[in-house]
């Protein structure tokens, strides 16, 4: 690589980068990119990966209590997908020079965040449905535009993830639908879950646009394609008729159709709660991180054993 052409001046490389972005082409791992672009992507992809693996916990909480074998299989497969999606995303971050070990270290020491939605508890079986319908629904609304993100490996991981997640939201909706048509107790369970998960789901789109300083740069770089508020509105518009079809109500008195805007108006999100949960004061912040750290620490001897075995048997085919 030490040929004369690699002495191409920085400015020309920057122009090349801008041209690639402007032409809606993808940036690939070994391309030159501005440090801030790289840092923004690493932060965002890592946060996304962390959210996938921490997000396994609230749902895994119900695997051993799933009330039918069909539901149990679905839930195991879904939680498994989340581990898989974490792996795809750590892989994408790795192409930017951030190793998984380093990113996990930052998660475990609290220097990296994950989506604060997972700091809410899953108290009943209906929560599994509400997570699928609302939390995965919000995630998909966020993620579909990321399939066109300017960074190639991230966009490709998101294509795969979106394809696999299509069943996640549907199974949640189906689960709630079964409860809503079930006994009085099941129906009450479903409504209670929707009441608790609705507002945190709206928070998943992030702070309002006027309080989201990074949005403009991310949109210029085509990492992000829509603002937080646009996506939040899109999500509300999608959910209202779906809630009606379930026969469940969304816990917002201000929800009404706005003929002029062609959108549903909705009430104010409690951003104080959002900031508090993000700052670590949510009901499950400690618990989630503890479990994650414990799994990692208790797994150390296993990872070390496999590495030691590989060193002893370099051919990798001892059998």
């Amino acid at each position: 690589m030490g040929t004369a052409v690699s002495a191409e001046p920085e400015r020309a490389r920057a122009e090349d980068f801008e041209r690639t972005i402007a032409a809606d082409e993808r940036i690939e791992p070994r391309d030159w990119m501005p440090d801030a672009y790289r840092a923004t992507l690493i932060r965002q992809i890592a946060q996304h990966a962390h959210s996938e693996i921490i997000g396994m916990q609230p749902e895994a909480n119900w695997i051993t209590r799933a009330p039918s074998l069909r539901r149990k299989a679905i839930l195991i497969a879904k939680v498994q997908d989340e581990a898989g999606h974490g792996l795809y995303l750590y892989g994408a971050a790795e192409t930017l020079g951030a190793s998984r070990a380093e990113l996990l270290g930052k998660l475990h020491t609290g220097r990296h965040k994950y989506s604060s939605i997972f700091n809410y508890p899953t108290l009943t079986w209906a929560d599994v449905g509400a997570i699928g319908w609302l939390v995965d629904g919000a995630a998909i609304t966020n993620q579909v535009p990321l399939c066109r993100c300017s960074y190639g490996p991230y966009a490709r991981a998101m294509v795969r993830i979106c394809k696999e997640e299509s069943f996640h939201q549907r199974q949640g909706y189906e689960l709630l639908h079964a409860l809503a048509r079930g006994t009085g107790a099941q129906r009450a369970m479903a409504q209670d879950a929707v009441d608790r998960w609705w507002w945190p789901s709206l928070m998943m789109f992030g702070p309002p646009d006027d309080a989201s300083p990074r949005t403009a740069q991310s949109m210029a770089w085509k990492i992000k394609r829509h603002t937080n508020d646009e996506l939040r509105q899109r999500f509300v518009d999608i959910c209202v008729p779906q809630a009606e079809a379930l026969g469940l109500t969304l816990p917002d008195r201000d929800l009404r159709w706005n003929e002029e805007r062609g959108h549903w108006d909705f009430g104010a999100v409690d951003w104080d709660e959002f900031r508090a949960v993000l700052a670590g004061e949510g009901p499950c912040n400690e618990q989630r991180l503890d479990q994650r750290r414990r799994a990692h620490e208790e797994g150390a001897w296993v990872r070390e054993a496999a590495a030691a075995y590989a060193a002893k048997h370099p051919a990798g085919a001892a059998r």
Partner: protein, 97 residues
């Protein structure tokens, strides 16, 4: 933080989606050795029946062209249109050519 992950090298995974198609790059994963890399790849990238064959390659073994050189490296191939069939004129009425 106890280690472990840092010692597991990165592998690139290639999947043949079905017979008749080439292996294509699917992503990467960590594994201590080739055997586990293959098994991890099977579990991670083909759990929906996406493949009939897998390759795993140590990421460190891949030699890549430099993106900085992409112009000089690939441009010479761009100005030789006579390598493509559309370059040639075929007299009217001639078929199967």
């Amino acid at each position: 933080m106890s280690g472990g992950d840092a010692d597991w090298p990165l592998w690139e995974v290639f999947v043949r989606p079905r017979r008749g198609l080439a292996h294509t790059h699917a992503g990467s994963l960590h594994a201590p050795d080739a055997e586990l890399a293959l098994r991890n790849a099977r579990d991670l990238f083909t759990r929906r029946g996406e493949g009939v064959s897998l390759w795993v390659v140590p990421a460190a073994a891949v030699t890549a062209s430099s993106p900085d050189e992409r112009d000089p490296f690939f441009r010479p191939a761009a100005d030789k249109p006579y390598r493509h069939p559309t370059f040639y004129e075929v007299p009217e009425g001639v078929r199967h050519l």
